[in-house]
Amino acid sequence: MCALCGVLGGSDHWTEAASRPGLGSPATSAAARRGERMRRVQAANRILSFYRLHLADWQGTTYILSTATGKSELVDNLSHLWSVAEQLTGRLCDPLDPALLNWLESGA
């Protein structure tokens, strides 16, 4: 378990890395890192709901990505998330897609 953040394993993905002085995510305390993780799930869900997908934290160690019908996959980090999302939906998750951007701009 990582003594710094209270999370088993400890990720070194760039969005959540906190392993070296001066490097890593802006959150440094354990509570801040847990809070950040929750906000990361929320922010991802805002986008994922366009694809009818839902992300949940699992014990602070991994994430579970599910479809509306309950098909689920574990994902390690945000980079992993999008390729799994594409596999689950059979669609390309393109952040430049005007349909997605219009939907986000409409305040969904």
């Binding site: 070194d12 760039w14 890395a17 995510s25 990361r40 999008w82």
Partner: protein, 355 residues
């Protein structure tokens, strides 16, 4: 581990097309006392290890990679060579080097080397990527950039570009090439091998990781080049130069944001963009004003790889805006701008140059 050995040994990659002067540059740098404690890994390309024979400093620091091209066949060997060096240093079998320089083959895309340093389970705990130095020769460089995607990738990945053979090239041609280099990679420091005093510290040190403590390093790393990018980039990308000659739709541009950015949303956005378009994003480099943080965060990515973000102790200059430079191939600036702004709920703007 000896006190002298840094916790993470910086690794410099010297890349550049065939015959562009990598070894000459390395030879020139290796006599610099700053590099006395640098281990050098060179790649022996082809049957005759010419690079090896040209290199003066061949001793126990040097490991020759015996087979072919770094990009496809040697990644495992490169990892092995670095692990072996590390192991010998730990045992005291080689002097305790504090920096590692790797000279890649002319045909290699630098990306696999970067990922080897970044992701190999042993290496990533002992080494970190420092600057990528790309040599481009003033005589043939323009042709290489036009014809070979490797050459473009080498340039896009560069933190320092050394324009070589300017003494034997037509000055007008060299100036045009320099302009083109700036257009493709406005964030790299451009030096001329024949005219500029090249020293090891300028080329090898002052990387993104040094930014945490030194605002001067941050200025060098970022500020000046970026302003130029903001000022003249759109012309060079859309106007003055012919897009076909410019080389496969390559465009560099800077986005600036006046407001604070949400780090989490930025992470969601960048990972999603890199998942879908990583091949086309040759480079992302930026300094961000993050909501809830007093000091800025520097981000830095090459293709699919994003380095851990670096927290700067202070802003490099009076400008407090978030600035992001992209070097893309076949992607539209407006689409990226709109997407980022929508994801982050902010508006990007063309920044005026700061005096």
């Amino acid at each position: 581990m000896s006190q002298q050995i840094p916790q993470f040994t910086p690794v410099n990659l010297i890349t550049g097309f065939l015959g562009s002067g990598k070894t000459t540059l390395l030879n020139r740098l290796l006599v610099d006392p700053h590099l006395a404690d640098t281990a050098v890994l060179i790649n022996e390309f082809g049957e005759v290890g010419l690079d090896h024979h040209l290199l003066e400093r061949i001793d126990e620091h040097t490991v020759l990679l015996q087979s072919g091209c770094l990009c496809c066949t040697i990644r495992g060997e490169l990892a092995e060579a670095i692990r072996d060096l590390h192991s010998r240093r730990e045992r005291g079998a080689v002097p305790p080097f504090r920096r590692l320089a790797i000279e890649s083959t002319g045909l290699a895309d630098p990306f696999p080397v970067l990922t080897t340093i970044h992701a190999e389970p042993v290496i990533k705990h002992h080494f970190r990527m420092s600057n990528v130095i790309t040599t481009i020769d003033a005589v043939n460089g323009a042709r290489h950039l036009e014809r070979y995607s490797e050459s473009v990738k080498q340039l896009a990945a560069a933190d320092r570009v050394v324009l070589t053979k300017t003494d034997i090239a037509d000055p007008a041609e060299a100036a045009r090439l320099a302009e083109r280099i700036r257009a493709i990679n406005p964030t790299a420091l451009l030096l001329r091998a024949a005219e500029d005093a090249l020293n090891a510290e300028l080329l090898l040190a002052g990387d993104a990781y040094d930014l945490a403590g030194k605002s001067k390093a941050a200025q060098i790393w970022f500020a000046a080049e970026l302003r130029e990018a903001e000022e003249d980039h759109c012309h060079s990308a859309h106007g003055a130069s012919d897009p076909n000659r410019h080389g496969k739709d390559i465009e560099a541009f800077a986005l600036t944001f006046d407001t604070q950015l949400d780090w989490i949303s930025f992470g969601v956005w960048l990972t999603m963009v890199l998942n879908r378009h990583g091949e086309k994003i040759l480079r992302v480099k930026g300094i961000l004003q993050i909501a809830g943080q007093e000091t800025p965060v520097a981000v830095h990515g090459v293709q699919h790889l994003v380095h851990p973000p670096v927290h700067l102790r202070s802003w490099p200059d009076a400008d407090r805006r978030s600035r992001l430079v992209f070097i893309v191939q076949g992607l539209n600036r407006r689409e990226i701008e709109r997407s980022l702004a929508t994801f982050l709920g902010v508006r990007a703007r063309r920044a005026e140059p700061v005096a």
